[in-house]
């Protein structure tokens, strides 16, 4: 029989990866929509596509994108905290 914690780790990693990809698609889409709306409101001069692509490049390097790693970090912390509090306190 497969060891329980290995199975939990594998299933958890797959599930969190799926969530990570879905949320990163969502986050990117929201960013692009904000850029489009900002341009269409007439706040910026120049070419629309170039403005949006520049904004998306900024997003890919930015803090917001890196914060998505919390999708992996927070459940892991909750898991470790639950094990510690429930069994060793």
């Amino acid at each position: 029989m497969i060891m329980g914690w290995i199975r939990l780790g594998v299933v958890g990693a797959i599930a969190l990866t799926a969530v990570y990809f879905l949320v990163s698609i969502y986050s990117r889409s929201v960013r692009r929509e904000t850029l489009e709306k900002r341009f269409d409101a007439g706040e910026v001069e120049g070419d629309r596509d170039a403005y949006i692509e520049a904004g998306m490049t900024m997003y890919e390097k930015g803090l917001r994108k890196r914060l998505l790693w919390l999708i992996y970090i927070l459940p892991t912390l909750a898991f470790v905290a639950t094990i510690y509090i429930l069994n060793f306190q």
Binding site: G4, R7, L22, V23, S29, F79, I83, L86, N87
Partner: protein
């Protein structure tokens, strides 16, 4: 149709409520009057039992630890004490033996009471012979202490946030991906009666869409 709608929604709501009522931790203030082990052969109620101790194996039946207790109002309650291990529900309880020892150390009677807060999940049901699973025991000053369920408030808030985010993500996906595709389709295939039906369904919400879907099973006049 109205009654059917409300029956379905009531069923869904009770299943969700029951799921959380079973799974989330609750606390009882009790006197622990005894602990025991007995062998259980799992039958129709097997879904309501957790697993053997983490790292050990069991074939068919096994010994289960029990904690017998009396509530402040004199009613009795029996807890099982099983590892949940790495499975569901996600308590990751691995210390059943230690918990049983703690419960034994807190054993008392009505004359010299030691009031104990027992954290548990699950239900006691005599028809199915199922027991709530004790998760933690802690001595408290008396039978009247009030303990706010902070953890449950936190868990439910997180779940509500997740549902909200899933809704936001779905709406974003529909606005940016599905609707443009539908617009294209409507332009190329204009005046088709099915799209009108679908649009009516969308305007009427989930229930309306369900009715439209039911309508697609009706027979149509032959051409």
């Amino acid at each position: 149709m109205k009654y059917l709608k409300w029956t379905i929604w009531t069923l869904i709501a009770s299943v969700i409520f029951g799921f959380f009522h079973y799974t989330l931790p609750q606390r009882d203030i009790v006197l622990i009057v005894g602990t025991e082990n007995r062998r259980i052969d799992f039958g129709e109620n097997s879904i309501f039992w957790a697993g053997p101790d983490s790292g050990t194996a069991a074939i068919g039946n096994r010994d289960v630890r029990f904690i017998n207790a009396v509530r402040a109002n004199g009613k009795v309650i029996v807890y099982r004490n099983e590892d949940t291990g790495w499975g569901w529900p996600p308590y990751f309880k691995l210390d059943s033996s230690n918990l049983q020892t703690e419960a034994q150390a807190l054993t008392s009677n009505a004359e010299t009471p030691k009031w104990v807060s027992v954290t548990h999940y699950g239900w006691r049901n005599e028809f199915m012979t199922i027991f709530p699973n004790a998760v933690a025991v802690r001595q408290v000053v008396g039978p009247d202490v009030t303990i706010l369920p902070w953890l449950n408030i936190f868990i439910l808030a997180v779940l509500a946030f997740l549902v909200f985010m899933i809704r936001r993500m779905w709406l974003q996906f529909r606005e940016r991906t599905i609707d443009p595709a539908l617009d294209d389709a409507a332009q190329t295939w204009d005046g088709v009666e099915d799209s009108a039906t679908a649009a009516r369904g969308r305007a009427a919400g989930v229930w309306g869409r369900f009715k439209v879907w039911l309508g697609t099973w009706k027979s149509r006049p032959r051409r």
